[in-house]
């Protein structure tokens, strides 16, 4: 990748940045619009891609996609298929009413949308319980309700993703941009040593904390991360907080891989975990 091209609203994408593959149609991501201008000379209309947001142009020649990376740290807006961490607010006959982000309408989670749930075996969630869920639908128009689910509707299983109630552990707030990065990094963690998206904090923590029995982590797109390390027994709280601090520190200060390693070492030393 050469120097990144930054576009402002109204800018057109220069044609030499477009992926040249002719085999399959070009997929256009958010922030870009296809405009066609009826040309006077030839019969074929001219097509131009124009940006509607400011962002870094990102092209993927392999998948033949083009999209615009806009400002990452925005308020979370539910989108279908997002993994999120929700908190139960109250329950009614058919639904658990959950909070996804503060000051927004509650989302609905069906009492039976858990793996293997029946009228008798459904989980009895109380107010304040945490669930890891997927956004099923966001509805249309104003005042639409967001619906969540903890099962894959096709298979009826909680995996992939390990959906369902999250017991124990602790939730930390992150920026939505960081949450997206963590999710992306974890989904594409194929090679061990190559840092994905410039994130080494998790693998570093994993290495350092192996002696404490490891830890469990769930990341929600709504800017929340749930950390649990009940295996660490008497050090459980310390380890949990250390992980949270490392993640939040990386997020707040936009650390590069080297600094992330330093932060992990320093935090663990400060908390006398090494």
């Amino acid at each position: 990748m050469t120097t990144p091209l930054i576009l402002l609203p109204g800018d057109e994408v220069p044609s030499d940045y477009l992926p040249s593959s002719k085999s399959n149609p070009l997929k256009i991501g958010s922030g870009l619009r296809l405009l066609s201008q009826p040309s006077t000379k030839s019969k074929e209309p001219n097509h131009v891609l124009s940006a509607t947001q400011a962002g870094i142009l990102e092209t993927d020649a392999r998948r033949n996609t083009i999209s615009l990376l806009s400002f990452p740290n925005r308020r979370y807006i539910p989108t279908t298929n997002d993994l999120i961490i929700a908190q139960v607010h109250h329950s009614s006959a058919d639904f658990f009413h959950c909070m996804i982000t503060p000051h927004t309408a509650q989302a609905l989670l069906g009492q039976l949308s858990f793996e293997g749930a029946t009228k008798k075996t459904r989980p009895m969630l109380k107010q304040g319980d945490i669930v890891y869920a997927r956004v099923l639908s966001v509805g249309i128009g104003a005042g639409a309700e967001v619906e969540l689910t903890c099962v894959n509707p096709a298979t009826g299983k909680a995996n992939p993703g390990g959906l369902g109630p999250l017991n124990g552990g602790m939730v930390f707030d992150l920026s939505t941009g960081m949450a997206a990065r963590l999710l992306h990094a974890s989904s594409s963690s194929a090679d061990d040593d190559e840092p994905v998206d410039g994130l080494v904090v998790l693998s570093e923590l994993g290495k350092k904390l192996e002696g404490f029995g490891g830890f469990e982590l769930a990341v929600g797109r709504n800017g929340k991360v749930w950390v649990d390390c009940s295996n660490a027994e008497e050090n459980a709280i310390k380890v949990t907080i250390a992980i949270g601090r490392c993640l939040q520190g990386t997020d707040e200060h936009n650390l590069n891989p080297a600094d992330q390693k330093k932060l992990v070492t320093r935090t663990l030393r400060d908390m006398k975990l090494v």
Partner: protein, 249 residues
């Protein structure tokens, strides 16, 4: 001449925010944008296929009065045209822009609010960009005063603005359209034409000779063009947010 300064995404709770400070006129505006949001209790007033845009201007030291209503109306009518309110997710929702004049002289009753318009417009543009509200284009604004002797001065301070014969605020889109022109005082049309010419050269790097509308960033060696300033501010901010990505690539 000291150029303006701006920064993006300074507020954490808002969807997008920006601050814009112009040391010459002394205005310092903090803008926040929330979009798309549900506007309560006015469902019947919402346009079925377009976003509803609301602008609130808060003066620094007093409660908002009729003057603020006037600027709000100008900003709203102008931004309605720039915001793509028909894009996905926006119709029937609201785009709420709140602008607070943090610094600078407060306008007195009946004063012209023209002088603060450039700062308000730049702050709202940057905040809209940082909230990733779809826009059809960007724009830049400048304030010019014409003295009694016919001299055109750029960015007169509020005190100087009281002494000039006429005051003009002009706003140009990134494609060269005249988006806003607010003039008051005593002047004739020839004066306004001169003002328009000068404003255009301040706002835009005029090197749009490239036929395909490809703005060349190498232009504007003095860096005094306002559109270059807006672009740099946004680029800097994006660079900071995506350091991880750009470094690892």
């Amino acid at each position: 001449m000291v150029g303006p300064t701006a920064s993006l995404s300074n507020l954490h709770r808002a969807d997008g925010s920006a601050s814009y400070k112009c040391p010459v006129t002394g205005y310092d505006v903090l803008g926040a944008v929330n979009a798309p949001i549900e506007l309560p209790a006015r469902k019947d007033a919402l346009k079925p296929e377009d976003a509803t845009i609301e602008v609130f201007v808060k003066p620094g030291k007093a409660t908002a009065g009729v003057g603020e209503r006037y600027v709000e109306r100008i900003l709203r009518t102008m931004l309605e045209k720039v915001i793509l309110g028909r894009e996905k997710g926006l119709p029937r929702r609201g785009v709420v822009i709140t602008l607070a004049a943090v610094g600078g002289e407060a306008a007195e009753r009946g004063d012209s609010y023209i002088t603060i318009i450039p700062a308000l417009l730049h702050a709202s543009l940057l905040a809209l960009i940082s909230a990733a509200v779809p826009l059809s284009m960007t724009f830049t604004t400048t304030l010019l005063g014409v003295t009694r002797s016919g001299q055109i001065i750029r960015d007169p301070s509020p005190a100087a603005a009281k002494a000039v014969a006429s005051l003009h605020v002009l706003s140009f889109s990134s494609k060269g359209h005249l988006l806003l022109s607010e003039s008051q005082g005593r002047f004739d049309f020839e004066t306004w034409e001169l003002v328009r010419q000068q404003a255009a050269s301040i706002c835009r790097a005029v090197a749009t000779t490239g036929s395909d509308g490809d703005t060349d960033m190498g232009e504007g060696a003095d860096g005094a063009h306002v559109d270059a300033f807006v672009r740099e501010t946004v680029e800097d901010s994006l660079h900071r947010d995506y350091t991880w990505k750009l470094e690892s690539a």
